[in-house]
């Protein structure tokens, strides 16, 4: 579909394209002044969190103008969804924001359930497992934020510690779902499979030592002169600025507004959990760091409560017209239908086979209409706008991605500041390009 935009020349090994910055010349010409230089940062740059491209106009070390260019990781997930059935959708959406896959899945599944009108039929155990997994995911996502931001500001030990602990959380995910990332674990109607006992043991271990580790991060960074100098009073955005730009999540809470959808418009059972919404009033990168640390502590509290109320029971809705027909199990060749189920449908029950075939290949029909389901993801409001035309496939699914919306704040944070603070400001937004570009 594209026209030629890169210069090409023929060589003995075939045609070679010279890929340029696209609008680079135009930007440089417009900048004009000799003292003003234009710096292109990204899309491949270690501290732009993936494939974010920043075009910065500088005078000396001061940023005069910052432009954000995105779209390098656009994979058309929303369009792809329209050609798969509703259950298969989870496999796609989990790949959007790859640091918070459970949130993508949970938001999507809650939207599908709202379209079907079956929210009150979701079992308690499934709801508890979802909250448990979401909060563990919030911890792992914040750990990556802490690790990468630490690395970008020169605190390399923080990077090692952050990824080490996150690895432990991913091990829990693997025990529960069979996969470390992109699990497609939350399904319309419940979750894919039950939590094994070993995972519970591992989660309890995490609850045992994680609070001390968070204290350790705080000891390591909060009093560190370099850390404070680099983050305090940097990339400030107040509540008015946040609301105008649509910024939610830790960035908004660091400015002083305790807006957390889990508290303000609870969903999925959060209203029954006891936790606080951490806020700061500084509105700078240091405040965001404090908010995220405290959010990890609150998440641990929620995980503890969720474990306590994890009563045995079904993890999938009782309605057989929606529930996946089999228990899934992890076998030697990966995740699949459990052997007992395969033996039953292949050897004993023709009706069960037909049911399985119809539900798996055709899927269930979702009554026509549209819903918007907002949830509190680690980066802010994750909203799922799902439209059904009454068929077995989504008619349209749109993700209101917090990374996408929050990245609009980069010019507001960077312009007038130093070049080095662009990194801090960008990092403090915690953008994930997979989610931003979808």
């Amino acid at each position: 579909m594209t026209t030629d935009y890169a210069a090409a020349r023929e060589t003995t090994e075939g045609r070679v394209f010279t890929v340029t910055g696209g609008d680079w010349d135009t930007v440089v010409n417009e900048a004009g002044s000799e003292e003003r230089i234009v710096v292109n940062m990204g899309p491949q740059h270690p501290s732009t969190h993936g494939v974010l491209r920043l075009v910065l106009e500088l005078e000396g070390e001061t940023v005069i103008e910052a432009r954000t260019v995105i779209g390098y990781l656009h994979t058309g997930i929303e369009k792809n969804l329209e050609f798969r059935n509703w259950t298969q959708g989870t496999t796609f959406v989990t790949r959007m924001d790859y640091l918070a896959p459970i949130f993508n899945e949970a938001g999507y599944c809650m939207a599908v359930e709202k379209l079907l009108g079956i929210e009150d039929q979701i079992t308690d155990r499934a709801k508890t497992i979802r909250i448990l997994m979401m909060e563990l995911n919030r911890i792992s996502s914040h750990l990556v934020w802490l690790a990468t931001t630490g690395m970008e500001l020169g605190a390399l030990s923080m990077m090692i510690y952050g990824f080490r602990e996150r690895e432990y959380v991913l091990d829990i995910f693997e025990m529960v779902s069979g996969l470390r990332m992109n699990m497609a674990y939350v399904r319309p109607g419940g979750v894919a499979q039950d939590i094994p006992d070993e995972a519970i043991v591992k989660i309890r271990e995490l609850l045992g030592w994680m609070p001390d580790r968070i204290d350790m991060y705080e000891d390591l960074l909060s009093g560190n002169t370099i850390w404070r100098e680099r983050t305090q009073g940097v990339a400030v955005l107040d509540v008015t600025g946040c609301l105008a730009l649509g910024i939610t999540g830790p960035v908004l809470r660091s400015a002083g507004l305790g807006w957390d959808i889990r508290k303000q418009q609870p969903y999925g059972g959060y209203e029954t959990y006891d936790f606080e919404v951490p806020t700061e009033t500084t509105g700078d990168a240091f405040g965001r760091y404090k908010v995220r640390l405290n959010e990890m502590r609150q998440s641990l509290r929620i995980v503890e409560q969720a474990l306590a109320r994890l009563e045995p029971g079904p993890i999938m809705i009782a309605d057989k017209k929606i529930a996946w027909p089999a228990q899934l199990a992890v076998g030697g060749d990966g995740l699949g239908n459990s052997l007992e189920h395969v033996a039953k449908i292949m050897g004993q029950s023709m009706e069960a086979l037909i049911h399985h075939f119809k539900l798996v290949t055709e899927g269930f029909r979702v009554p026509a209409g549209q819903v918007y389901v907002p949830i509190e993801a680690p980066r802010g409001e994750l909203g799922v706008h799902a439209v059904s035309d009454g068929g077995t496939r989504p008619f349209r699914v749109h993700y209101r991605e917090p990374s996408f919306v929050n990245l609009q704040a980069i010019p507001a944070m960077a312009e007038g500041g130093l070049l080095a603070d662009v990194i801090v400001g960008g990092a403090s937004l915690d953008p994930v390009m997979g989610g931003c570009d979808r």
Binding site: M1, T2, T3, Y5, G22, D23, I70, G71, H74, G76, E78, K79, N80, F83, K114, L115, G117, L243, A244, L245, G246, I247, T248, L257, W259, Q264, Q265, K321, I354, K358, L359, T361, E362, G363, F364, R365, V366, P367, A368, G369, Q370, V371, Y372, P374, E381, G383, H385, V387, G390, G391, F395, R396, H398, R400, F404, V405, L407, Q408, D437, R438
Partner: protein, 228 residues
Amino acid sequence: MTEVEPVGATAQTPPSSGAGRGMFGVQGTGDTSGFGGLRRRRAVELDSPRPYGGDFDEVVDALEEAYASFNDAIERIVVDRGELTLHIVPEHIAKVCQALRDDPALRFELCSSVSGVDYLGSDGRRLHAVYHLTSMTFRRRIRLEAAVTVEDPHLPSVTQVYPTADWQERETYDMFGIVFDGHPNLTRILMPDDWEGFPQRKDYPLGGVPVEYKGAEIPPPDQRRSYQ
């Protein structure tokens, strides 16, 4: 003399390809199993009567008071699955947003999301821009919808009211070709600058995948054999 059907006329020939007709070329529901229960029926809500329930009446009343030409601006009001949708005449969308944001009884401070939906085959105005607004003061959410035609896909931009709509309107333009008049820089955002066409439209042609075997090609997803 009446026309007589010739004896041995060829039976109606099946289409040469079953592509796009469901698995095994089945028509209709394709349900031979007796398992028709997979279908859940529910009438589509097109225009809800008052009272809307919850605090939706309060919101609509407040908007009626705050926005002088309310009756010209609102096409219809739908309450479905506990969500309020106001269908707005396209020319009024920015002004309605202004009223929704500024009126003390409404206070929709945050524009959560702007996106599009292409209702191909519904009526002429198939491109819908959908806005989700949040009132943090009252903990409410509403949805605004404005429909335009493909031939004249123009809507006033709400970026003057909600600066956050900047990128979201660009994305909607990028994917659906809805032009937001008054937007400061309406260019493509996710697709490359020189891309042609609007990928999220329902009539956007999809590509197949060529296979290196005797010129075969995996058909585009909308033409593959599958249950539809």
